[in-house]
Symmetry: C2
């Protein structure tokens, strides 16, 4: 902005007690590996304290870098994304990078336009949670050598960098929790299978049901079209309409779990009294809900941090082969799961009367 | 992206059944007013359907426009901002604009850097919810003629465009609700007064207390440092430590209200049995909390839409004087407010025993 005293590389160097060339190296990702972490940190801190702000356009032209990262998010109103964004930004910020976000609203057209806008603004790389229709765009970017890290999902057949939770193992621990409570007839409201969390959690569900000698029934699985709030109503209604006897539901994520609870309630079934419900994500405020939501937790913040780290190392020229970092999950037991009703003779037509008193 | 067939202005014109010059006018904000809304809509739709994507850098250079809007948000994890962003994007999208977001985390340094990054990327204007330390930057931008619309707050002494809720009237209806329930001793956990929502809601509180013949007591007001989750703990503890008899709390926003409820609970006081609590915002999921949160609602989505509309009209060259659009609020009565305990002889040291059974 205008009128501010200009802070130079020389000022930063003086403050940090290093040679100006060292400052330049620290601020240049492709040379940063030449400098020790301690020194890099001292330089970054001095730059912060002095309010050093390189002219990013000039610097970008010189280094062919904009020091800006594009972050594409499918649904900002899904409360798991804001902590992820914070993780990304907390990693980028001390290194002099800024994140620009685009909310794609899970619409292919907005996703394409967001990518185009960020590409046109010459960001140095992308952290993306793509929709399935965005997969071809992302594949093309990776093929063209654009630095990309996927978060929360991987793309079949693509050798790319990704950070995801352990969806399969998380689903298994959800189902194991329900089995340990005494449930034998467990339904699954799955997310869409064209996204890896949908597919992986569905597989984790099936495998665990089989491992415990229960018969997996197709009748006990229904698929939502999306992972967004509201998308869980129709599949839950389908399960109810089929007249299956289930005493517990594993939902593909927390937003779907809330839909399950609401749809059950509208049919006169209470959670956890009649039906236990477990979600996935441990979204903010999940412990404040009535009933408090039992769920599978993983750190969205950590996903963001790790993705940013992976991306910057690509940008800095690291040529190691693509890898997927899988973060572990944790069962969070709260009030939405309990032992099944003692007499479980419910059927589609007499659900209400069959619940114990 | 590579390999896509290039859609030209001529293709769009043919599809929309208009002259190519009309398409150019529709896509050029400073000339769009020359075209009727119906025609503009038809052209936009044709452009969408064909996947028309002007080379935004080339177009930007030609028109000195990037068709990109910068959105600066202080705290993405505050759940009121995502719906606002959606409102902004829903307005921009059909008009061919893209929003790039920067999450400032309420940190002056990140705010400055976010502004710099977006300015360097040549966005056409900004929608900003600034921190108080960002006010000088925003003032400078407005002085320099940068198109800016403030959301959720106004800046004292600045003639700028803004869209805000009716904070004063909303606060009044919160306090009136508590008084109608029978409360006479009403405390206020206020947001910071250097932000207009903090100041306005505090004033609305005081005025309403006075209007109803109650004596406003400084002892019944405590100020939080921020509007973020966790910031309401200390001021609530202060109120408790002062030993004041209050049966209700009006909190500056919902996140502070949740802190109030938790802090009361830690002192053995239950909401709404011992103390009623009302918030402000009607954040997502507020109706699912235990207890469901009574609050003041306004449409964050609408704030976003209106701000985007105001901004684009500035960008299009509208030179009408700055104005603030004030959206009305609505009381949402839920379970966190109730009549006060019948015998209200609580004191700081014997709070627990004095509550009725």
């Amino acid at each position: 902005m205008k009128g501010k005293p200009v802070v130079t590389v020389r000022d930063v160097a003086e403050r940090a007690g290093v040679h100006p060339a060292t400052v330049s190296r620290v601020l240049n990702p492709s040379r940063r590996h030449l400098i020790s972490d301690t020194t890099a940190r001292r330089v970054s801190q001095a730059a912060e304290e002095l309010g050093y702000q390189a002219n990013s356009m000039a610097r970008g032209l010189r280094m062919r870098q904009s020091f800006t990262i594009g972050v594409l998010i499918p649904d900002l109103t899904n409360p798991l994304f804001p902590p992820m964004v914070r993780g990304i930004e907390d990693y980028l910020h001390p290194l002099g990078y800024t994140a620009l976000l685009s909310n794609t609203d899970s619409e292919p057209d907005r996703e394409r336009r967001g990518l185009d806008a960020l590409t046109a603004r010459q960001v140095d790389g992308f952290v993306i949670a793509p929709t399935s229709s965005g997969f071809p765009l992302v594949k093309a970017m990776i093929r063209d050598g654009v630095p990309v890290v996927l978060v929360n999902r991987s793309i079949d057949g693509v050798q790319g960098f990704a950070v995801t939770p352990d969806d399969r193992r998380g689903a298994a621990s959800a189902v194991e929790h329900l089995i340990a409570l005494g449930h034998r007839s467990i339904a699954h409201v799955s997310g869409p299978r064209d996204l890896s969390p949908g597919e992986e959690r569905y597989r984790g569900f099936l495998e665990t049901i089989r491992e415990h000698g229960l018969t997996p029934s197709e009748e006990l699985v229904a698929f939502a079209n999306a992972f967004t709030g509201g998308a869980g109503v129709r599949p839950t209604q389908e399960l109810l309409d089929r007249g299956e006897n289930f005493t517990a539901v594993f939902a593909g994520n927390d937003l779907l779990a809330l839909d399950v609870i609401d749809t059950l309630k509208a049919s006169g079934l209470s959670c956890p009294h009649d039906v236990s419900v477990i979600g996935f994500n441990d979204m903010p405020y999940a412990g404040r809900f009535d009933p408090p939501l039992t769920t599978i937790r993983f750190s969205h913040y950590e996903i963001g941090r790790r993705a940013a780290e992976m991306l910057l190392s690509q940008i800095a020229g690291d040529r190691s082969p693509p890898r997927t970092l899988i973060l572990s999950t944790e069962l969070i037991t709260r009030g939405s799961t309990a032992a099944p009703p003692i007499a479980s003779h419910r059927s589609g037509s007499t659900r209400r009367s069959a619940t114990p008193h």
